[in-house]
């Protein structure tokens, strides 16, 4: 048996034991997606995978915007050995820290990744851990690399992707739970609590402002998407957009589209649903900002087929970024941003 195999086996045995203890201790209550982080000594469970937690990871590779920003927010910038695939400019407070990082515009190959000798891969999305990309989390563990997917994107099984996200896990509470778990894992509990407190305060402030002022049936419908050759590519039900819009006092106009986060819909579908707001989520460049949506906003405003849309006639087609619809440390700000857009009368 190779040492790594032995470690993995030991890890599994330990995790089984810990799980049994946990189950016994918390036989009733507590959602399965938020295991009590304080008691996690040897392993912490993430998306049904037990992540070894005996020693804080020292060499972390962060893939995608949410993971990169989460790492900086938790104060482990100096433990990053590489970062990859930003969708937009990083949050202002992390710009300096990110500027010093080695950065790949695309995901590196597995070999390239391993050349950094990481002991941990933190990913903002689930597609990384598939056979088509860097490999499943189990296969990475065999190489001595532990891994983490931000929980609102948990696939039902290691190696799977968006198709298997459980919509019930797509919550802001799961973002907090992740930060708490990662804080424990990296031995940065205080920092994690600070971040969570800040996010909770932002979301709470929005909730306070909305409280009693927006009736359930008056919530505006919001479409987050961008024009495509097919019509539009929009955020569906299992996307974190749905949670962000919900917390901001709106309804995702495409919440009923399930099975995947992104859906290609026909222009006629958009006309039929007639969303009150359209947020154009430009994507995928480290220097991108919502201002880059200008061209696509113009395209929507000038499209004769869309001339009757409430969002078009009311001038409510706004710039947004794909990064802002992702689950992560910027999600609370995204909630405030969306709330400010769709309830501009309440948020002066």
């Amino acid at each position: 048996m190779k040492p790594t195999d032995a470690r993995a086996a030991l890890g599994r045995a330990r995790s089984a034991a810990v799980l049994a203890l946990l189950l016994a201790a918390t036989a009733c209550g507590g959602s399965p997606s938020s295991p009590a982080p304080e008691t996690a000594g040897e392993t912490i469970r993430n998306c049904d995978v037990d992540v070894a937690a005996a020693e804080p990871p020292e060499r972390v590779f962060a893939a995608y915007q949410p993971a990169i920003e989460t790492a900086h927010a938790l104060g482990i910038s100096d433990r990053l050995v590489g970062t990859a695939f930003l969708d937009a400019e990083v949050m202002d407070e992390h710009a300096a820290a990110q500027a010093e990082q080695e950065y790949y515009p695309n995901l590196p190959s597995l070999e390239e990744l391993l050349s950094h000798e990481p002991d941990f891969v933190l990913s903002g999305f689930n597609g990384v851990f598939t056979d088509e990309s860097l490999g499943t989390r189990a296969s990475l563990r065999e190489l001595g690399v532990e891994s983490w997917i931000l929980s609102p994107l948990c696939p039902s099984e290691d190696g799977r992707t968006d198709e298997t996200i459980d919509p019930a896990t797509v919550t802001m509470d799961n973002v907090y739970a992740d930060l708490r778990d990662l804080g424990t894992l990296f031995d940065e509990q205080e920092r994690a609590e600070q971040v969570i407190a800040g996010m909770e305060a932002t979301v709470e402030e929005v909730a306070q402002t909305l409280d009693g002022r927006v009736a359930e049936e008056d919530r505006p419908t919001v479409m987050i998407g961008r024009p495509s050759d097919q019509g539009f590519r929009v955020a569906g039900g299992p996307d974190f957009s749905t949670e962000i819009i919900d917390l901001a006092g709106g309804v995702n106009a495409f919440a009923d589209l399930d099975g995947r986060r992104n859906h290609d819909v026909a222009t006629e579908d958009v006309i039929a649903r007639d969303p009150d707001f359209i947020l154009v989520d430009v994507c995928c460049d480290a220097r991108m900002t919502s201002a880059d949506a200008a061209d696509q906003i113009e395209q929507i405003m000038d499209d004769p087929a869309l001339a009757n849309l409430t969002a078009v006639t009311g001038g409510r087609v706004e710039g947004f970024t794909f990064a802002d619809r992702s689950a992560g440390v910027r999600s609370a700000d995204a909630v405030a941003k969306v709330a400010g857009t769709i309830h501009s009368d309440l948020f002066g």
Binding site: F85, S228, D229, Q230, V265, C284, P304, A305
Partner: protein, 363 residues
């Protein structure tokens, strides 16, 4: 005769001394005789009219003929009016134009290369258009539809020229086999370049999918109007080529002895194919199957005479494309399947049925 040519489609057909070397005609095809073919063509036109109507009426919301009438006669700017005028009708007209262009260019390519698997793709048209468009988007940052359509058209022309140039190297000039091989090689080269760019690019998967699987969903009236002169020129050229192509079908030597200038026929065909298929690809992305299958279906029905095969293909190809597009709108609701995916799904059963009944009709 049709069967004999089909068995050795790539070799020059030896002359048949006992038969007058006029264009192949009569006898072959399910519809024999000009009367049956003409009546059949009328019937096919009615089917096309039905497909056009279905394409306008069927979709995310079902429309009635009255809705369509009102959209033009009593336009009020309602949602339905906008859907009819700016989405359904342009999309339907695009299906008609793209379908006819693909069908006719398929006949031309198969006729001039005498390759039963010939389609515009074999001249590198699709690959050239796709690569040029992808380059325009990723390198030059062209975003407007009209912008990269122009690039796609140029790419199609450049690829066809390259294929023709490579196919003409050597002492014998551009023979059918050489053209087919050069086309396959250059298509593969261009295709892998496109893939390399797409895979390297970040936001790629959505933006470029159009250039991998064709679609009519983005059809736009203004772009169609711009494409019209090119399509018309291509169709006129195709009509003029019908007789010379019949001669070419007899084999190079016999065609030459009949006074056919082969280089002129090939050059004119290539030009017509670039005009037709280049515009079709620029407007709807690469759509396979239609260009290969429809000429065979037409030949199975009316025999090998290009004077019949061309009009029949021009009618049947849009039928196939429009029906495929309507099916694509309905089967995956509320999303849509791109027509490029559905064409083979819809067309293959007919294709197989006809080919089995007729054996591959001669070229």
């Amino acid at each position: 005769m049709a069967d004999r040519v089909a068995e050795r489609p790539l070799s020059p057909a030896p002359a048949e001394p006992h038969r007058k070397p006029r264009p192949p005609s009569g006898g072959s095809g399910l519809l024999s005789g000009p009367g049956a073919r003409s009546i059949g063509l009328m019937a096919a036109l009615l089917v096309l009219a039905g497909a056009l109507l279905a394409s306008v009426l069927v979709g995310y919301q079902q429309l009635s003929v009255a809705d369509v009438y009102i959209a033009y006669a009593g336009f009020t700017g309602s949602d339905t009016d906008l859907v009819v005028r700016h989405l359904r009708v342009p999309r339907t007209l695009a299906g008609l134009a793209v379908g006819a262009a693909l069908g006719v260019s398929g006949v031309l390519v198969q006729g001039v290369t005498r390759n039963p698997l010939g389609d515009p793709g074999i001249l590198g048209i699709n690959a050239g258009a796709a690569l040029a468009a992808v380059l325009a988007i990723s390198v030059l940052g062209v975003s407007a539809l009209l912008g990269y359509v122009a690039f796609a058209f140029l790419g199609a022309a450049a690829a066809a020229c390259a294929v023709y140039a490579v196919g003409s190297l050597g002492p014998d000039g551009a023979g059918p086999v050489r053209l087919a091989l050069a086309g396959a090689a250059i298509s593969a080269l261009l295709g892998s370049l496109t893939s390399a760019i797409i895979l390297r690019d970040r936001a790629s998967l959505d933006e470029y999918r159009f250039w991998v699987v064709g679609s009519l969903a983005g059809a736009d009236g203004a772009a169609l109007l711009q494409a019209l002169p090119f399509l018309t020129a291509g169709l006129v050229l195709a009509v003029a080529l019908a007789r010379p192509l019949n001669a070419v079908a007899l084999g190079d030597e016999l065609a030459r002895s009949l006074g056919t200038r082969l280089w002129l026929v090939r050059g004119a065909s290539a030009l017509a194919v670039v005009l037709l298929a280049g515009t079709a690809t620029a407007a709807a992305g690469p759509i396979g199957f239609v260009g290969v299958a429809v000429p065979h279906i037409a030949r199975a029905l009316v025999g090998p005479d290009h004077r019949w095969v061309l009009p029949w293909s021009a009618v049947l190809a849009p039928v196939l494309l429009l029906v495929a597009d309507v099916v694509g709108r309905v089967v995956a609701r509320p999303e849509e399947l791109q027509v490029g995916i559905v064409t083979a799904l819809v067309g293959a059963p007919f294709f197989i049925l006809l080919v089995r009944r007729r054996r591959a009709a001669g070229l």
